[in-house]
Point group: none
Chain length 216, copies 4
């Protein structure tokens, strides 16, 4: 009596979902590396190991493929954010954890940074066309609001902090350093990506953000 007989060949093609997500991953890498304008459909197909025509079969055209990549990227970071469980930490630890998470996520998924840059170069029109992303309002902002309130109540945080401003600042401190790492390294003549430099940056970021939220 055998279960698990269905998939037949292990290395089967003809798996719609698998093909789609393979394409999506390949497209994400290509878009991240070359931007929307510089990305090549040919290369995406090659990266995916699939026929180019299949991309159009599933994603219609380059624009909508890019949109699908963005949706996927947002879905991913939102999932990770949700998994943070900041509510279980003390306000101070929660903020520190958030700074660390942001830093680590950008480090691990550098594609995210360039994808966002591309999305903004095109004035976020791909987001506007995506009902999904528009409604995927970051739960983090709500979470952050609650943490700030908790901190204010227990006397550790100052009052009057806008969670959106804080969220943007945390992201900005990490984003700029990593996204502009190449020009900055060139101009300052020092490699900003050595382990030491990276630790110093994270430490600096925590100082800046905690220095801001903590009551004197």
């Amino acid at each position: 009596m055998h279960t698990e007989q269905a998939p037949a060949t292990e290395e089967r093609q003809r798996d719609a979902e698998r093909s789609q997500s393979t394409i999506l991953a390949a497209a994400r890498d290509e878009f991240a590396e070359h931007g929307l304008g510089g990305a090549r459909m040919d290369r995406i197909a090659e990266r995916a190991g699939l026929n180019k025509r299949l991309i159009y079969y599933y994603f219609a055209d380059k624009e909508r493929l890019f949109q699908a990549v963005l949706e996927q990227a947002y879905r991913d970071i939102r999932d990770r954010e949700r998994a943070l469980k900041l509510q279980d930490l003390s306000p101070t630890e929660a903020v520190r954890r958030l700074v660390e998470f942001t830093w680590q996520y950008y480090l691990e998924c550098p594609e995210f940074l360039t994808l966002l840059n591309s999305a903004n170069l095109h004035r976020a029109r791909h987001l506007h066309q995506s009902a999904e992303v528009r409604e995927m309002n970051s739960p983090l902002v709500d979470m952050l609001g609650e943490i700030l309130e908790r901190g204010r109540k227990d006397g550790s945080f100052r009052g009057g902090i806008d969670p959106v401003q804080l969220y943007v600042s945390i992201a900005g401190l990490a984003y700029f350093y990593l996204s502009n790492n190449h020009t900055l390294s060139a101009i300052f003549g020092r490699d900003l990506m050595t382990p030491k430099a990276r630790n110093e940056r994270l430490s600096h970021m925590c100082d800046v953000i905690l220095g801001y939220v903590l009551r004197d």
Copy 2:
């Protein structure tokens, strides 16, 4: 004494220079709007009102044109930074002035942001090829170092602050907000570019940065 002759050598040179800077400005706008991959030589010629062939005459190819645009952009912001005269202000005022300047410059010259994004997408290879830019180390970092030292000495600033980290943080707080304004506005469902929102951001940035540098 002849008037209305064939243009004198000097005049022709002036035309040549003017053509070059017209092309450069057109290219800057085009690159800023569409990125390096999305920019079109045709459109640049059209924007400049000059023959496309002339672009190649002066700038050899697209890559080197982009490089020239970057060089010009850095030259411009460096000039503006130098004009700041932060040394005449008190440390606190100097830092505040720097935050304000950064914010205003990015607001006035949004092309700068997307140009930098493009430069970084291409791993700053255009900068590496430009001896000029490589040597154009921001005078601000030195200036900032002196201010931090002055502040530390007069007891208003804490010690141990890396001017590069601080510079990057100031830039990052402004950059991320403005460069990613489209996606952020879409996701948070609020227009981040209204005058009110912009004032709030500047105020927040000053709080964050001054909260960090000032001794408790």
Copy 3:
């Protein structure tokens, strides 16, 4: 005694036939609308509401599908011609009836006109490959020959009229007006398809043809 079993052979055959004629109708419309070169197999499947693969199953390829459409079209007009029963009318009435029929058929089945145009663009090679159509020599020409002979004998028609020439002329008078209706309307700046214009055309055609066949 089981009801609701797998479909009986007969039923399946009926479905098969229905599928084929559905495809054929969809193909006819598509070919008529876009020509052979402009027709799309995808659209034909969509119009038919059937899977594209099925078209290949029944008709092998686009060329043979077009051929099948042509065969069907000829079969249809031949059937209608045969139903005319011109032999029961007086020679004059028979000719008038034929002119009217031709006009009405082209009006009701405008696809026929563009299908013929396509067939001719391809030098009738689809007809040459179709034994069926080649042998489907228009019964009308024979019928018309008899009518002309009857008319000549009873003194109402002039002699020496080639039925093929006459048939071609009748068709041509209607065909050109309707098939080229769009360019003619554009050029003469008058809508040739209003009811009034159509009636005038039919009347004119009868005058021309009867003026030709009738003895002075």
Copy 4:
């Protein structure tokens, strides 16, 4: 003292007008042979012996190239019509001349027929987009109106003939025979294009048209 020195090399390229008309002629042949949908830009370039890119340089895209071909075709036949000088002939001779001209023009320029078919397949949208053609109302209709009036006055023609109807009929008698020659030949099993058959057709057409216009 030499005139005619300018053109430099006899077989010069870099002649904009020459290139354009070469492309136009190649496109006319390709469109006539394969229809709009079946025509290939590659083949047009090859026929013209010019780079494909040049077609886009001068004609923007396939649609507008087709439009330019149509405009040229209409310009050509209108010129030829104008050169007919029917007003110098007797009414009867003028009508006969017109029938002959139409027949001969279609015989000499069979592309014209298929081009018109293509234009009509696309509902003359290329004509509607061409101000030039829309205004290029056939001078023949006016000419024909005058002839009919002259004939009526001198008692040779019947009255009440619409010149547009007559024009369409003359064209239709020739057009259908020639344009549908392939299917007709296949169906009637006789070659309609032998010299004898062609003469018989022309003779028949004259009989039909003159039989219609001449007073009994």
